[in-house]
């Protein structure tokens, strides 16, 4: 899952802390999503896209990825 949160943040002149506070999550969560370390739930993805007043597909794009075997 790829996202353009960083781009939209820059467009709205927001820091990670600002966005996190507005959405109701921690800054680490925004950072983890931006870096692709954490895939947000549908609910959180909708909240983020709704905050930027765009459709969810404009912020998040799904891409097939090769899954590695390990402790998931």
């Amino acid at each position: 899952m790829k996202n353009k949160i960083k781009v939209y943040r820059a467009m709205h002149d927001l820091t990670q802390e600002d966005l996190a506070r507005a959405i109701g999550v921690t800054r680490q969560t925004i950072l983890a999503i931006e870096k692709g370390k954490y895939v947000p739930s549908l609910d959180l993805a909708f909240r983020i896209s709704r905050y930027f007043k765009v459709n969810i597909e404009e912020v998040f794009t799904y891409e097939d990825e090769v899954r590695t075997v390990g402790i998931d």
Binding site: Q16, G24, V25, Q28, T29, A32, K37, P40, D43
Partner: protein
């Protein structure tokens, strides 16, 4: 109330509980430690309700959930394997040697390889191991889900 003050209160309550426990042991009155435990839980709960800078979002909930799940998986395998081993020992495992079969009358009865007290201690040790396992898994998943990433661009 700040989160760190809440953690300090937990530590303070734990110390008090420990002191009351040993006081009740020395005075042969378990009711002290029982009352102290209930009061400790109430104090911690009241303090938890007053914490205002603690945000538990879905990522942190997921880290907790995954760490707990993996801990239980590993723990139950170890715990059950050890318990089954001891039950097999206590219940006299079947032998397949001819000599043992002919001399079975002299060896019937419970075969105690490890004393029940030792079994209890090892099972308690496994329970304590669960705490370390949980902390380890929590570190693993926290790192995996970007807990300590610090860049702000």
């Amino acid at each position: 109330m700040k989160k760190n003050i809440f953690y300090l209160i937990i530590g303070f309550v734990a110390l008090l509980l420990l002191a009351v426990f040993w006081y009740s042991v020395e005075n042969f009155t378990p009711v002290f430690s029982m009352i102290a435990f209930v009061l400790g839980v109430i104090v911690i709960y009241a303090a938890y309700r007053r914490v205002d800078d603690y945000i538990e979002d879905e990522r942190s909930a997921r880290i907790t959930e995954k760490a707990a799940l993996r801990t239980f998986q590993v723990f139950w395998v170890c715990f059950c394997a050890f318990s089954i081993l001891e039950v097999m020992n206590l219940l006299y495992m079947p032998h397949f040697s001819r000599e043992h079969w002919f001399e079975r009358s002299s060896t019937t009865g419970l075969l105690e390889v490890m004393s029940p007290r030792m079994i209890g201690y090892i099972q308690l040790g496994l329970l304590c191991l669960m705490i370390f396992l949980y902390v380890g898994f929590r570190f693993y998943y926290a790192k995996k889900y970007g807990e300590w990433e610090t860049d702000e661009e």
